[in-house]
């Protein structure tokens, strides 16, 4: 569906995207995570044919970026990081304009469909300039969907929105996910990525890691188990250490914590040993690391490059 091979984007001496190789499957919701200036927006701009790659290849829906740009533009939707509208025009006029540019068959019907779907129908005659940030974002999402694109690029879809508006947008993305569209989301909101995305990539100039959020947690932290005892946990450390495959044991008052690759098998062995040793077990839990912890761990591993970067180059790359 979306394929990148050795994709590279340079602005002068500054490399915004370096050797990105990635495949995104049809119907997948893919999260593209990375700090500001990591190259996320630059990647989206390349995939939506707004800027040309410096090297490498990319294809969207089987069409080559740089060679079949018009075919790609017709079939993808883009929500930009800072969605601008024609503020003097009404919501209806804004969407009608884009529907015509996308050569939508039944313009009025499509515009009405998305205005209703995003709860903007009652405000359709109001100038877009009078809309709240949440409404503007909804209008921008409607604009990105008017031509029923098979692939949707959402750049920071909930950035700067209040929690209620952000939740509305997230719910709507989940609806879109249900329709089987391929959705590529750039986001800083890791909770959002965790909830919405089938797979996520952590990206900072180059691809650091890509996998399902659950697998990433496992890769970074392993699976960590805590057992709360009625007694002091230090008295039972030896009983746990005797079980093979247990790592990074930590004792904290009544809590015994350790890593294991296979808790489904190891936990019962450990519980049995602890009971045999006279421990009273109160709770057994698996620690759920958030995607944010995983992300910060991965990003922290990378020191920034010391290369001098010109102001213009930083400007070119700074929004993504």
């Amino acid at each position: 569906m979306i394929s990148m091979k050795g994709l590279n984007k340079r602005f002068g001496d500054y490399t915004a995207v370096d050797n990105l190789t990635l495949n995104i499957n049809a119907g997948e919701v893919f999260g593209f995570l990375g700090p500001n200036g990591a190259g996320k927006t630059t990647t989206v701009r390349m995939l939506t044919c707004l800027i040309e790659p410096s090297a490498g290849q990319a294809s969207v829906l089987g069409y080559q970026v740089g060679r079949e740009d018009q075919q790609i533009r017709r079939r993808v939707g883009l929500l930009t990081e800072t969605p601008g509208h024609y503020d003097r025009l009404s919501a209806w006029q804004n969407l009608t304009f884009y529907a015509r540019l996308y050569e939508v068959d039944q313009v009025d019907k499509q515009v009405e469909k998305y205005l209703r779907m995003l709860d903007l129908w009652d405000r359709r005659q109001d100038p877009a300039g009078s809309f709240s940030k949440g409404m503007r974002q909804k209008l921008a999402i409607a604009r990105a969907l008017l031509h029923e694109p098979q692939v949707l690029f959402l750049d920071e879809p909930t950035s700067g929105l209040d929690p209620e508006a952000a939740r509305l947008i997230r719910d709507f993305i989940e609806e879109l996910k249900g329709e089987g569209r391929t959705i590529f989301i750039c986001t800083h909101n890791l909770d959002e990525a965790d909830r919405l995305c089938d797979r996520v990539a952590v990206f900072k100039q180059r691809l650091r890691v890509v996998d399902a959020p659950a697998n990433l947690r496992r890769q970074v932290y392993g699976r960590r188990i805590t057992i709360q005892l009625a007694q002091n946990a230090a008295d039972f450390k030896d009983a746990v250490m005797a079980v093979q495959g247990i790592r990074e044991i930590e004792i904290n008052d009544h809590i015994l914590a350790f890593n294991t690759e296979n808790p489904e098998i190891e936990n019962s062995k450990i519980v049995r040993r602890l009971v045999q040793a006279g421990a009273d077990i109160q709770f057994v839990n698996e620690v759920k690391h958030t995607l944010e912890e995983v992300y910060l761990n991965l990003i922290a591993e990378e020191a920034p490059s010391g290369e001098a970067v010109s102001k213009a180059e930083m400007s070119a790359a700074s929004d993504g």
Binding site: L50, I51, Q70
Partner: protein, 265 residues
């Protein structure tokens, strides 16, 4: 063609909601139509006294000799006065659209509406032609309407001989051919500036300079340094047409989506 029309209608819907733009688009041509009529009224009221015109320089005498074949002294002064307004009618289709065109790209950048627009399947040529026509057409139509108002007023205030002068092929060429060609040149230049400028004010100020050569022509003729006749207008028309072709090509080629999106904040 449909996309060009879509761009034009959107531009008009947006631009003419700004009452100031609408006001200027209507007022300037109206002013240019009424001013010469008003001058003729004053002139007729004063009895066509040439001494008040301070027209005794050597250049003006030569100019009048060329301009006034078969006309009375009074008619000659009327023709001379009106001929200055021919340039004004050429300035209107340049003056009005430059600020509209100058804002059209950089304005979309500042409001962040350019990126989603460029993400649509619209070709650069369609976008620029749409924006150019949206800026040019109202000014050209307003100029033509102003010219007709001017003709009606003049018809009642001057002799047939003088009236024939304002229907001279030179006038018609200037207003119906050279004016629009100049408008295209001005709009292309403004669009080029707009796609390269970093803020709307810079774009508008730079674009306003486009009017300068025309103003110099007006001053040149009013001081008697140059005489614009049919041949001169034709020559100007040919030169501007060639420049138009060059400017259209340059404007489309210089409109680099990547540069516009990434080199500007």
């Amino acid at each position: 063609m449909d996309k060009i029309k879509t761009i034009i209608y959107k531009e008009w819907a947006e631009v003419f909601r700004n009452r100031m733009v609408l006001f200027i688009t209507a007022l300037l041509p109206l002013f240019m139509a009424v001013l010469p009529i008003f001058m003729l009224v004053i002139f007729n009221t004063a009895g066509g006294d040439m001494s008040s015109m301070n027209a005794d320089t050597e250049q003006l005498t030569q100019l009048f000799n060329q301009l006034c074949v078969g006309l009375t002294e009074t008619e000659c002064v009327q023709v001379y006065t009106l001929s200055l307004f021919m340039f004004m009618f050429m300035i209107i289709p340049v003056a009005i659209p430059v600020t509209i065109a100058a804002y059209s790209i950089v304005g979309e950048k500042t409001t962040h509406s350019l990126e989603p627009l460029l993400a649509t399947p619209i070709k650069t040529s369609e976008l620029l032609v749409g924006k150019a026509l949206a800026a040019m057409l109202p000014a050209i139509v307003a100029t033509w309407i102003a010219y007709f108002v001017f003709l009606i007023g003049t018809y009642f205030l001057v002799s047939d001989a003088v009236f024939r002068q304002v229907l001279d092929p030179m006038w018609l060429l200037a207003i119906f051919i050279v004016g629009p060609l100049l408008a295209l040149l001005a709009v292309c230049t403004s669009l080029m500036i707009s796609s390269r400028a970093s803020d709307p004010r810079t774009a508008e100020q730079l674009s306003a300079l486009i009017i300068l050569p025309l103003i110099l022509l007006v001053i040149g003729q009013s001081l008697g340094f140059i005489l614009i006749n049919s041949q001169a207008i034709l020559l100007i028309g040919v030169i501007v047409a060639v420049l138009d072709v060059i400017m259209v090509i340059i404007t489309v080629q210089l409109f680099e989506r990547e540069t516009i999106l990434t080199r500007w904040k």
